[in-house]
């Protein structure tokens, strides 16, 4: 059994959980919701083991000195989906809003599918620039932040659907898909809670990145596209935080800012590497 096979299993697990969560929206069966949640936990547990196994494998390749498996695009995408589950399960433990799963699991599933089907999973030892503990701190904090934003984005989409439907059929209580969702107030609160977790983590991610750059190159900030995009993301979520406490900006506009913020996050993570030039090496 190698880590690649386990990751395939994880992908299947997340796929099934996602389908069941969507089934839950349609059927409102609490059995299905429980099953979906159990599968999500199971997938997360297997993924945790698989990441550990890959870590072990980095020591086994010829000439490999071993490294935390966070150093190339494949490893980072896998880690991203792991962090999405981590943040989602934490929020599930606390708030038990099962319908949220249908809007968050797709992100984790898509990430795993992409990693398993399209990305190069070769283990190659680290080039000098990446041989630093800062890499580990930087990647972990950034991706935990990104994952919280993914959850917030899913919740914001739910929020927009919810208030869209409620405005249309103003007095009759919304049924079906929308009826099972938490109230707009709870969704708004969840959105904020997720960003409340994500924002300090993103700040830490930017700071550890700056500290690393300073340690490796002697400049903590050089306006390279990746750095700049992470700052753009940070600006957007700072705007979100202030929008919530400003009259006229709360609710809908805040939800839209959260979605725009996640789009910018994804661009920062992937778009910059695939489309723009810069120092960060995941793209290659």
């Amino acid at each position: 059994m190698n880590s690649g096979q386990l990751f395939n299993l994880v992908t299947i697990g997340y796929f099934s959980a996602m389908v069941l969560f969507i089934g839950y929206l349609a059927t409102r069966s609490s059995v299905i919701a429980t099953l979906a949640t159990v599968l999500a936990y199971l997938g997360f547990a297997i993924q945790t083991v698989a990441i550990g196994l890959r870590w072990y494998e980095t020591y086994q390749v010829p000439g490999g000195a071993g490294y935390a498996p966070l150093s190339n695009l494949y490893e980072s995408v896998v880690f991203f989906s792991w962090t999405i589950l981590l943040i989602y399960l934490l929020i599930d433990l606390k708030y038990k809003q099962r319908s949220v799963g249908a809007f968050v699991l797709p992100f984790a599933f898509l990430a795993m599918t992409w990693a398993q089907l399209r990305l190069d999973s070769t283990i190659s030892p680290l080039v000098p620039a990446l041989q630093s503990n800062w890499l580990t701190y930087h990647v972990i904090t950034c991706f935990l932040g990104y994952a919280a934003f993914a959850v917030a984005c899913g919740v914001s989409i739910m929020y927009l659907i919810k208030i869209g439907k409620e405005n249309k059929s103003s007095d009759a209580p919304a049924g079906g898909l929308v009826g099972i969702m938490p109230s707009a107030k709870i969704l708004d609160d969840l959105n904020y809670k997720a960003i409340m977790i994500g924002f300090p983590l993103l700040s830490l991610g930017i700071i550890t990145g700056a500290a690393w750059a300073n340690y490796a190159w002697g400049t903590y900030w050089s306006w390279d596209p990746k750095e700049t995009w992470s700052l753009i993301v940070w600006f957007i979520y700072a705007a979100f935080l202030h929008a919530r406490i400003t009259r006229g900006w709360a609710g809908r506009k805040a939800a839209i800012l959260s979605i725009v913020g996640f789009a910018a996050t994804i661009f920062c993570y992937l778009g910059v590497n695939l489309l723009l030039a810069g120092l960060h090496s995941y793209g290659a």
Binding site: P128, Q131, D189, M196, S203, G218, Y220, A239, H242, L276
Partner: protein
């Protein structure tokens, strides 16, 4: 006129204090920052003209899009952002300070009505005794209260995490501190680089932005440079310079290995391993043996160098390459006999028997070759960097306090009502209301229990 002026000043002040301006400037900064990630910054004119027409180039240049993070309008936005931050804090901070240092010990009826977490019990007994009970109750359940008596009523006030109110201000201050650190670095620091050949030394460096050199008041020597690879692959494993610092004739740092991610610091300057290159030709060591004889001669040659062999023939290193196709290091040697025609011979380091098998009069083998490198070091001095780190630490702490701590306040008000005592419990939290409501509901039950067995 006066009033009008004041009216204008007031609205300007309100403008600079408004949160709408904050959202505007944050979004404006986010949107404009994109420009510099799409247009590569600080290239030369020729490089831009390869992408843009002359006219577009001129327009973009006028808008300072080619160095936009230092353009007047981007800096202007940052300044606006800071002014907004400062004004907003000046406006709000005193109120928060007062709230923390002069708590509302005796809230008016009106204020009490604004809080949604309330419970009221009517119990038999004396105010004095009940006050003591409630004092104990709050002390046990929450925190020790302050007791105030006014107009026959008794007010108990208890609070927790009052400093949580400063979290937001710490966060905002941290941003200004980071800016300050960046300014200090820009004014008093510099960035430069220096190349030192192996065995060489320097006491000056080159500045990045000005082509000028800067003398050092010490000497930096590069003892050795090496690059290593993983196995037989081309994937680099380590770039390593061994550096020595000599200050006023004294060796201050001796043979310090300096690698990427492990710079060397001395006297406020930091030297980072950043590049390397070949310094001059390789030196190739060749062994020469005359077929049938035992004697072997060895020579170290650079490209083009000629040596005499004992029998009067001569040989010259015509060419050398560290990688000849897949065969590794290879050298071409010209043999120039004292009579007759010159002949060219190729030798490979990885195939020592190759020349022997050719069966010529001489047998050549390449023992080794040595490449002399220079190491390229990035040099920086940034006295502002610790200010920046201080700001970063404050930002994280401030965010955590702002998000995860909440100033919680409880009042118990006892007042006589028709021979009985009305006991009111009122609570408020400055954030995370849902969690506080849960807490308050539990407290309410204990509060009722406490009063029921009196």
């Amino acid at each position: 006129m006066r009033a009008k002026q004041r009216g204008f000043l007031n609205s300007a002040w309100d403008f600079f204090c408004s949160l709408k301006l904050t959202i505007f400037s944050l979004i404006a900064l986010a949107v404009t920052s994109i420009i510099g990630t799409v247009i590569q910054q600080n290239l030369s004119r020729q490089e831009y003209l390869r992408v843009f027409s002359e006219k577009t180039y001129r327009t973009l240049d006028q808008l300072q899009f080619f160095d936009m993070y230092h353009s007047w309008w981007f800096i202007g936005l940052l300044v606006l952002f800071c002014i907004n931050l400062i004004c907003c804090s000046i406006k709000r901070f005193p109120r928060v300070w007062r709230m923390v240092h002069n708590p509302m010990l005796v809230p008016s009826e009106q204020v009490l009505k604004t809080f949604s977490n309330v419970d009221e019990q009517l119990v038999a007994g004396e105010i004095k005794g009940l006050t003591q009970r409630m004092q104990g109750f709050l002390g046990n359940q929450f925190s020790a209260p302050q007791v105030t008596e006014q107009d026959g009523s008794v007010y108990l006030y208890a609070e927790k995490s009052k400093y949580a109110r400063f979290g937001v201000y710490i966060t905002h201050l941290s941003i200004l501190i980071i800016f300050l650190g960046a300014i200090i670095g820009n004014v008093y620091g510099f960035k430069g680089f220096v190349n030192i050949p192996e065995g060489g030394e320097t006491n000056k460096i080159w500045l990045r932005n000005s082509q000028a050199s800067l003398p050092l008041d010490f000497t930096l020597r590069c003892e050795d440079f090496s690059v290593s690879f993983y196995g037989n692959s081309q994937r680099p494993k380590e770039y390593r310079s061994v550096l020595t610092v000599i200050d006023q004739g004294q060796t201050m740092i001796d043979h310090r290995p300096t690698i990427v991610n492990d710079p060397l610091s001395y006297k406020g300057l930091t030297f980072y391993q950043s590049s390397y290159g070949a310094a001059g030709d390789e030196v190739v060591s060749i062994k020469v043996k005359l077929r049938g004889e035992d004697k072997v001669d060895a020579f170290s040659l650079q490209r083009g160098q000629m040596v005499d062999l004992p029998n009067g023939d001569r040989l010259r290193l015509a060419d050398f390459t560290p990688t000849f196709r897949n065969f590794g290091p290879a050298a071409r040697i010209d043999v120039l006999p004292h009579s007759g025609e010159a002949r060219a011979v190729t030798v490979f380091k990885n195939f020592p028997d190759f020349d022997n098998e050719r069966g010529g009069a001489y047998i050549f083998t390449m023992i080794n070759f040595d490449q002399r490198y220079y190491t390229g070091l990035q040099v920086t001095k940034d006295p502002g960097v610790w200010v920046v780190w201080l700001g970063c630490a404050l930002m994280v702490i401030g965010c955590l306090v702002a998000f995860f701590m909440s100033h919680r306040r409880l009042w118990v008000v006892l007042s006589g009502q028709d021979g009985k005592v009305g006991v009111r419990l009122v609570g408020s939290a400055h954030r995370n209301q849902p969690a506080f409501e849960l807490y308050f509901d539990e407290l309410k039950n204990k509060f009722r229990e406490e009063l029921s067995d009196s």
